[in-house]
Symmetry: C2
Subunit: 401 residues, 2 copies
Amino acid sequence: MTDFSATRAMFDLPEGVIYLDGNSLGPMPRAAKMRVAEVVSAEWGEMLITGWNRGWGGRGWMSMPVALGDRIGRLIGAEPGHVVVGDTLSIKVYQALASALEMVPGRKVVLSDSGNFPTDLYMANGLLTSLGHGHELRVVAPEEVEDAITDEVAVLMLTEVDYRTGRRHDMRALTAKVHAQGGLAIWDLAHSAGAFPVDVAGGGADFAVGCTYKYLNGGPGAPAFIYVAPRLADRARPALAGWLGHEAPFAFELDYRPGAGVERMRVGTPPVIQMTALDAALDVWEGVSLEDVRAKSVELSERFIAGVEAACPDLVLASPRDAAGRGSQVSFRFDEGYAVMQALIARGVIGDFRAPDIMRFGFTPLYIDEADVRAAVAILAEIMNNRLWDRPEYKRRAKVT
Amino acid sequence: MTDFSATRAMFDLPEGVIYLDGNSLGPMPRAAKMRVAEVVSAEWGEMLITGWNRGWGGRGWMSMPVALGDRIGRLIGAEPGHVVVGDTLSIKVYQALASALEMVPGRKVVLSDSGNFPTDLYMANGLLTSLGHGHELRVVAPEEVEDAITDEVAVLMLTEVDYRTGRRHDMRALTAKVHAQGGLAIWDLAHSAGAFPVDVAGGGADFAVGCTYKYLNGGPGAPAFIYVAPRLADRARPALAGWLGHEAPFAFELDYRPGAGVERMRVGTPPVIQMTALDAALDVWEGVSLEDVRAKSVELSERFIAGVEAACPDLVLASPRDAAGRGSQVSFRFDEGYAVMQALIARGVIGDFRAPDIMRFGFTPLYIDEADVRAAVAILAEIMNNRLWDRPEYKRRAKVT
């Protein structure tokens, strides 16, 4: 059984804060502070250029993308050696789609849904426009995806968990259907990795991508990851053919030869300092069972839904009521949701808001417990029942949220 | 007059090290240590998600890519508001080339040279293969570039300074020629930015890209930058159409609308911790004249060449003898150059080696002075004249260099 009081002690949350926004940016693991200080002073500062071979405690900074990929691979059910870390999620979506499309050359439809995070759609559209080969990005409502999987579809590209509502797709079933129809599946695990057990191998994903700054707590701007199924990894042509994906990057040859398997999905020089923070954050997962995380997350979420619905009749649940259909967040709708969220933040309960009317609350058992949920419900009820949100300073929109 | 003893004091070089590899990875500015610790503990740790608006001393992490772009813009002669920071140099090369090609739709030739850093060629080749529109990547010898600029050329894509020899192209003349022929020019400033005065605006560059971990001292894996000339910035279509390049990223619209000017070259979530280190490193440039940097760099380089040629007759200068034709590094050839470099490193003189036989030495007046050059020459002479390099431990190749 995972000891969540132990994982909680690994985080350094500010006094008085109930942090229900780990689905957007995970909090700082205590160890990250020291490890980042070390990589800056003791490695960059002292080893200088030799850190590429000697840094990261002797393993070499250059080995981080693959080694951290494996650490993440264990959390998403990937075969060892088939995940690599780098770049941003947007770039990884582009890589996956560009490679996938070439493997289904006769087809022109990329199927996605309107619940996908916009950057996935933007990147797909940018790629298809560049190609100019007559591809169509077909975007349907989330509930229409299954029926829209036909033999026209080259690639099904979905984010497993909806960033607004927490609605969760059935990865295994949808992947099986697109495979039966002769297409490939790309899964964006932004709101899945670290939130619940993911099984990319068992689920049959052809490509999977994700970010590491949400449930994996890698820090602001932490790098992304990409998984390529073993059956495809050695024949995926990388569109973003960077030198670190070359079979022999330090031979400095003029011609590109892709590296083995997923290594070809490396592009440029890895962000060593961010990767060090991520490495420290991944230590938290040692000894953690994702089944336990899921069970506790469901328990906390159910408790939150019940508490809010009982105390705040004006808030409307935006997430699926059935826990099996949700990721690890719960969303409520309210016309003045923006102001309510500001009032919550002013009182130490940090969630976030997505236009036009969605308040999001993430439940991350690594550092959130029942007492937090109880307190958050009480504060939200106080705000709602006394209209404490109805103040000009809560209605003024910040530049970004 | 720039006070180089003041800039030297801003770096924390290890005792006994003469660092002649700032052309590969700049050393740690003292301020980076504290600033990185602050962004981790006081911003990520305390502000959590609100750091996107409140971090970076109240300016908001989200504003860093554009603000740091402007700081770099001043060092490369860019118009304000036309440089943005993010991703890796490989990605920025891809962005620039993808946008440029669409602006010269009738032509099929991308011209580059064999002195370009391989990743630029790999990325170009990856893009052209994806497009499948019959483009040709034409790679000629550096000295043949000028003659190869014909009216077939859509885009001239060059790295200004050769990473092996330090040979420097004439940006202004080659750009003028490609413009006269109706094409566009992309300049990779990896070995230029921070090495000498660059004038992308005056030189007429259409796009310029560069990295920040060499002469700008941003740290291992520091993000790259991209410049788009004002005349093109609002009509360049971004192939990598990420959400942070959207006109209104936080509206989460399903359709992409490019942001104003170079902002559309932003892609995904910026690496806040790396950017903080870079920001600290850019402080070093306040009060520094790049003309002074150049003058001192030439003086140090000439002194080094003269010293080595006098003391080490077996070493052959691989860099142009005329300082006007060089960047800020000096290279020598020697069959056993790898072993010589290991012997140098063992004695605290850090340069690097590029196959098959090139030893590179970077001269960066921010922290290198005449005494360093004298000492480096003496140590190199001792190694050469006593064959101290001829030991098995110096001949064993490390995994990366």
